[in-house]
Symmetry: C2
Subunit: 311 residues, 2 copies
C-alpha cells in the first residue's frame, strides 16, 4: 500500500513536492487555507524545468477533521514565523506512527515540533529549489529542486529512506543525511546573505547581488559568519562552501529570493528563522557576527513596517 | 560694506542659510539649475521653526558668467556625489580673496576643492538641521539649525569669524571651531547610522529607528565604529557622544533623513560621503567597521538601482 501523505502549507514547496510524490504513486492530500476553493476545483498547476505537471490532490481539505485516519507523513511547507504554531496546527491529525517532515527554511526550527511530539519521528528537510507560488493554484519552478532530508536531530531512519525513494522515483533528487542539522547550516550559508540582501538592497535578484561588488562582499562576509557559528555549534562546514555558494549563485538563472517575494507581497518575512535563530546560536557560543546583525536590525525594521500595515 | 555671498546648490541647506544671511544684511545671490525659473520669479519661501521667512536673492543666476566680480564667500550646499565636481562648477567665479564654504555632509570631502584652490581659504561647515526642500522654491525647516564652521584643515580664521557673526546676527547659532575635521566626524556619528538605516529599513523616520530595538542596536554599533575610526584618524570623540546622539534623536520631532528624501525622489544618495569615505579611512588605519560595511554594501546596491533607472 502506498503511503498516505498530508501536505500542510500548500505554497510553492508543499505544492511542488506534494505533486511530485503523487507522481511516485503516493496518496497525497493537502490542507489549504487561502487557496482552498481554487485548489479544490482545479488542483495545482506547476510550470517546471523538470517538465510541467498538474497536481490533483487525493483530498483538498480546509480543516484537519475532514482528513480521516492519521497519515504516514505530514509534510510541513509552512513559513517559519513566530505567529505560526506548527505543532498546534497539525496536532489533530498526528498519529502514533506519523512522521512529521519539516521542509522549511532556517536553523533551530525543529525544536518546538519535536517537543510537542516527543514520540513521533521528526524528519527535517531542506529544499534547494527556486520555486514561487505565482498565484493561487499556480507554482513556477525555475531551477534546482534537490532535497536533503534526515531524522532529527540525527541518525538513520527507515521512514526518511522510504520518503527519499518516493522522491527519487518521481525525478526529484533526494538525499538522506544522518546529520541533517549540519545540512541546515549548510543551506543557511546561502539563505542568510541572499534572502536579506535581496530585500534590503531594493529588490535585487540573485544576478544583481553577485554582480555588484559591494553586495557580493557583504554576502561573502555573512557566509563566513554562518560558517563560524555553525562550527561553534558543533556543525563545521567545509571551507570551500563559501566560494561554492557564490559560484553557484553566479551560475543560477536570475532569481527572486522567497523573502523578496514575501516582501513584495507585503507578507511577514522569515527574519527569525533565517537570521534571528542563527544569531541566538552565535550569542550562546560567543561568536561575533556583525554583518548578520546588521541585516537583522534592518530586516526587523522592514518586517515591523509590513506587519503594522497588515493590521 | 556687507560681504557678497554666492550660494551654489540652492537646496534646503543653501536656501535656508542663504536666506538667513540676507536677514543679517549680506548681499546673497544664488546659482540655481532646476529651480531657476521659479526662484527667479518668486524667490524662496521657508517655513521655519525659527519663524517663516521669504528669501529674495540679490541675483538669481543660471550661469556663473552672470554673477559679476568674485564674491567674498561661495557657500556650497551641493550634494556630495562622485559625479558632482564642485571645484569645476565654481572655478569661474573664485577670486583671490574668495573663501569657499563647504556646508556639506560626510568626511574627507574638502580635499578635492582644497587641491583645486590651494591659495584660497576653505571653510568647512556642518549644518545640524532638519530641513527639506519640499518643492522648487519651498523649504520646510522642522528642527534645529545650528552650524559649526572652521578653517580647513584647522586653525583660526578671520573670515570664518565674520561669517559666524552674520549667522548669529540672523538668529542662527554658529560656532567657529579650530578643529572642524573633528566636528565632521562628530556629525558622522549621527549621519552614518541614521541616513542609511532610514533608507534600508523601508523608509523609516527617526522616531521609528530609535523605537525599534533592533535598529537602535544597529545604530549604536555604527556610532561606535565611527568613534573608533575617528580616533584612529587622530580625531578622538568624547565617549558620551553615542548616547547623546541617541537621546537627541529620541527628543527630535520625527524626521525623514536627507538620504531618505533623496531615495524617495529616486535621486542618487550620498553613499560615498557618508559611508564610503569613512570606510576608506577605517581601512587606512586598520579599523574594523563591519556594521558600516554592511550598510555600505546594501546602499551601493540600492543606489546603483536608482542610477540605472535614471538613465
Amino acid at each position: 500500500m502506498q503511503p498516505r501523505i498530508l501536505i500542510v502549507g500548500t505554497g510553492a514547496i508543499g505544492g511542488f513536492y506534494g505533486g511530485k510524490l503523487t507522481q511516485a504513486g503516493a496518496s497525497v492530500s493537502t490542507l489549504c487555507r487561502s487557496d482552498y476553493e481554487l485548489v479544490k476545483s482545479k488542483g495545482i498547476t506547476v510550470t517546471s524545468t523538470l517538465g510541467n505537471f498538474h497536481f490533483t490532490p487525493e483530498k483538498v481539505i480546509r480543516d484537519l477533521g475532514e482528513y480521516g485516519p492519521p497519515p504516514d507523513y505530514i509534510l510541513v511547507g509552512l513559513k517559519v514565523l513566530p505567529e505560526i504554531d506548527t505543532a498546534k496546527i497539525i496536532k489533530e491529525v498526528v498519529g502514533a506512527e506519523t512522521a512529521i517532515v519539516l521542509l522549511q527554511n532556517g536553523v533551530e526550527i525543529e525544536e518546538p515540533v519535536a517537543r510537542a511530539f516527543p514520540d513521533n519521528e521528526i524528519i527535517s528537510g531542506l529544499a534547494f529549489i527556486c520555486a514561487t507560488r505565482t498565484s493561487p493554484g499556480h507554482i513556477d519552478h525555475t531551477d534546482f529542486g534537490r532535497l536533503v532530508i534526515g531524522r532529527f536531530p540525527a541518525g538513520k531512519s527507515a521512514k526518511a529512506e522510504e520518503l527519499a525513494t518516493l522522491f527519487n522515483d518521481s525525478g526529484v533528487v533526494c538525499e538522506v543525511s544522518e546529520d541533517v542539522v549540519t545540512a541546515r547550516w549548510r543551506k543557511l550559508v546561502w539563505n542568510a546573505p541572499f534572502n536579506p540582501i535581496s530585500v534590503l538592497g531594493g529588490g535585487a535578484d540573485t544576478k544583481t547581488m553577485v554582480e555588484n561588488p559591494e553586495s557580493l562582499e557583504l554576502a561573502r562576509n555573512v557566509m563566513e559568519e554562518v560558517c563560524l557559528i555553525a562550527e561553534a555549534a558543533g556543525h563545521p562546514l567545509p571551507e570551500e562552501i563559501v566560494q561554492q555558494n557564490i559560484d553557484g549563485t553566479r551560475a543560477m538563472a536570475p532569481y527572486k529570493s522567497s523573502m523578496l517575494v514575501d516582501f513584495e507581497a507585503a507578507r511577514p518575512m522569515e527574519v527569525e528563522a533565517i537570521l534571528g535563530n542563527g544569531l541566538r546560536v552565535a550569542k550562546r557560543h560567543g561568536v561575533s557576527a556583525p554583518h548578520m546583525e546588521s541585516l537583522y536590525g534592518l530586516l526587523k525594521l522592514v518586517d515591523s513596517k509590513i506587519r503594522s500595515q497588515e493590521s
